[in-house]
């Protein structure tokens, strides 16, 4: 079984996104597990700032050498900023998925949904269950 970097400093969705609260906003990206599964990322399509998203809805598309996958919003809210650097350097998602590979920030509609997200330990179990 491969090893995944799952820091305790973020919370996880079942669709393999991570969230980190920074002030009023929530930063979102994809997990180390997701980037390993996808392989070399070649393109990330993100929504315009100001777009409203609902938890569970697709907000963008990520393309790797071998597949294309939707990105799912872990929480409901309004997109505040997006990581425009990913247009030129999508490999940042592979190299540093919790840092330079961040995707967007959301102004959450409420703080309740954040409580429903998974801890690193629960997410690790979720991955394990899925692989079996």
């Amino acid at each position: 079984m491969a090893e995944y970097n799952l820091p305790d400093s973020v919370r996880y969705s079942r669709e393999d996104e991570w969230t980190r609260v920074e002030g009023d906003h929530v930063v979102i990206g994809i997990t180390d597990y997701a980037q390993q599964q996808l392989g070399d990322i070649v393109f990330v399509e993100l929504p315009e700032p100001g777009t409203q998203v609902a938890a569970g809805d697709p907000f963008g598309v990520i393309e790797s050498v071998k597949t294309v996958s939707d990105l799912f919003a872990p929480i409901t809210g309004e997109i505040v900023t997006i990581n425009t650097d990913l247009a030129e350097t999508p490999e940042a998602v592979n190299d540093d998925c919790y840092g330079d590979g961040w995707m967007l920030t959301i102004q959450p509609a409420s703080s309740d949904e954040l409580q429903g997200l998974l801890s690193a330990q629960d997410y690790a179990q979720h991955i394990k269950d899925r692989e079996e």
């Binding site: 079984m1 071998k66 490999e91």
Partner: protein, 501 residues
């Protein structure tokens, strides 16, 4: 391999008689020509005097300047780089890369077909129209549909046409339905066809046995849903055994069922989609009916409909008119509810000639035997490779079988590496990483064209690669080794594409 190559590579054989070949523009030499014309014996006319302003170049276009033999060698060398069904097994899953019988080509080259102009009036193309009408009847008979159009130029356009007819049907009835249900095991083009028609795509999860269950459809099917798009057999190669119950649910709530005919090669003469509840479907003549697929195309994606959708067919519709002096065939434009024209003319009709020839040369029994053998061949591969590769849904399959790289996880060898290594063994790689619901999918469709000895050789190659993955993974991970160029940097090619020279 270590021996020095004589001379500069581009002009010489790189490996025996296997040639490297530069771009034609790189071979160009100023003034070199491949033709000679007689002296002009009429008054010269300056194009700038007779053509509108702006339509005459001030500088000649930078076209390659080559002799005739250089042009012939250039394209002939490139043609030798092709993998082709005529060279060997081409096991692309869901693509049905079956052998294209040469009699098809002979028929298509008959003067009456090859020389017929697309704009020729129907009165001068009665034989061609008769063939098209007969092919429509044969496809309807094979599929259990009522009417067929040959217009769509390939499968994706057939899907577009089919979903347009579903939309026209609901709009005509004044219903506002904005969703289409698509199982996760359906073809990748299905969501695109639905989205192009303005529908929201709702994925339907499959069961742990790999097929769609009525309960999953029941939970999602309501008056906002226009229909369900189903691929049967699905992309796992499994027959959707609950299709009749699923169709009942969809129909009872006002929806229609679209059938993706890409996998029809499993069903010829055995089951008819129209009898199973499908309302509209497309056929891929370049898959099931042995017309060229890929670079040899063009494709052809006829669409069949039940009578409830016939009024929406693209125009013109070929009609048979019975008369005292025999039948004649006309082009009917009087379809006020038609979704319109889908093709500049009547379709890629050279393919219709080939498909007609294929169906007539095999006949009812022969078509059924095709599907029997296609299914047998896929199950033979499943039985022989079960020990070497992980089988995500281990049950009897139809015409294709999906393996995965899961049992190779310890070695670090992935599906991509196995596919690349197969090239060294002389095989075009199978479909990989599809369907998406199987991680590391390796999707193999042998078709009925392969002999048992041919399948055994393919099995031995895949077994050898599985062994090699454990004993010498590096060799597999760096494959292919026996090609003119070794592994390409696909990541860099996708991130920093060079699109022009």
């Amino acid at each position: 391999m270590s021996a020095e190559r004589p001379g500069p590579a581009p002009e010489n054989a790189v490996r025996g008689l296997a040639y490297e070949e530069p771009l034609s523009i790189e071979r160009s030499r100023p003034g070199r020509i491949g033709w000679s014309l007689p002296e002009l014996d009429v008054p010269a006319v300056d194009p700038a005097d007779v053509w509108p302003e702006g339509s005459v170049r001030s500088e000649p276009a930078e076209l390659p300047e080559l002799s005739e033999v250089e042009v012939v060698r250039h394209f002939t060398r490139l043609s030798t780089w092709n993998a082709a069904v005529d060279l060997g097994l081409y096991p692309l899953g869901s693509c049905t890369m079956k052998y294209n019988p040469k009699i098809n080509e002979r028929a298509a080259r008959l003067d009456g077909f090859a020389g017929c102009h697309p704009m020729q009036p129907p009165s001068e193309a009665q034989g061609f129209l008769q063939l098209c009408w007969e092919l429509e009847q044969m496809l309807a008979e094979i599929s259990g549909m009522d009417r067929v159009t040959l217009q769509p130029a390939a499968g994706a356009q057939g899907e577009l046409a089919g979903v347009m007819m579903i939309r026209a049907y609901h709009e005509h009835r004044g219903e506002k339905r904005h969703k289409i249900l698509i199982p996760e095991s359906a073809h990748g083009t299905n969501p695109a066809s639905a989205a192009l028609n303005g529908y929201d795509v709702v994925p339907v999860p499959g069961g742990s046995d790999g097929v769609l269950h009525p309960e999953a459809v029941d939970a999602l099917m309501d008056e906002t849903v226009a229909g369900l798009m189903l691929t049967n057999p699905n992309t796992l190669g499994l027959f959707e055994e609950h299709i009749v119950a699923i169709a009942e649910i969809v129909h009872s709530r006002g929806g229609l069922i679209y059938g993706d005919g890409a996998n029809l090669n499993a069903l010829l003469g055995i089951a008819r989609p129209g009898d199973l509840g499908i309302d509209v479907m497309h056929f891929n003549l370049h898959k099931t009916f042995s017309t060229p697929h890929g670079g040899g195309g063009p494709g052809s994606g006829p669409v069949g409909v039940k009578n409830i959708l016939a009024t929406y067919l693209p125009t013109p519709v070929i009609q048979k008119v019975e008369g005292e002096e025999g039948d004649c065939f006309t082009l009917d434009h009087e379809f006020p509810h038609s979704i319109g024209r889908l093709h500049g003319n009547l379709g890629n009709l050279g393919m219709a000639v080939r498909a007609w020839t294929y169906i007539r040369s095999l006949g009812r029994e022969g078509l059924r035997r095709c599907s029997d053998m296609a299914v047998l061949n896929a199950n033979y591969l499943l039985a022989r490779l079960r020990e070497s590769y992980h089988v995500p849904f281990d049950r009897a399959v139809m015409h294709e079988v999906v393996f995965s790289d899961r049992n190779l996880a310890e070695t670090g060898v992935t599906t991509l590496d196995v596919a690349k290594r197969l090239i060294d063994h002389g095989y075009h790689p199978p479909t990989i990483y599809f369907p998406l619901i199987v991680h590391g999918a390796l999707m193999i469709e042998p078709t009925e064209s392969e002999s048992m000895e041919g399948l055994d050789r393919f099995v031995e190659s895949l077994e050898a690669i599985a062994r090699e993955a454990k004993e010498d993974p590096e060799t597999v991970k760096t494959a292919p080794h026996h090609t003119r160029h070794t592994r390409l940097d696909e990541t860099r090619a996708a991130r920093k594409p060079v699109l022009r020279w």
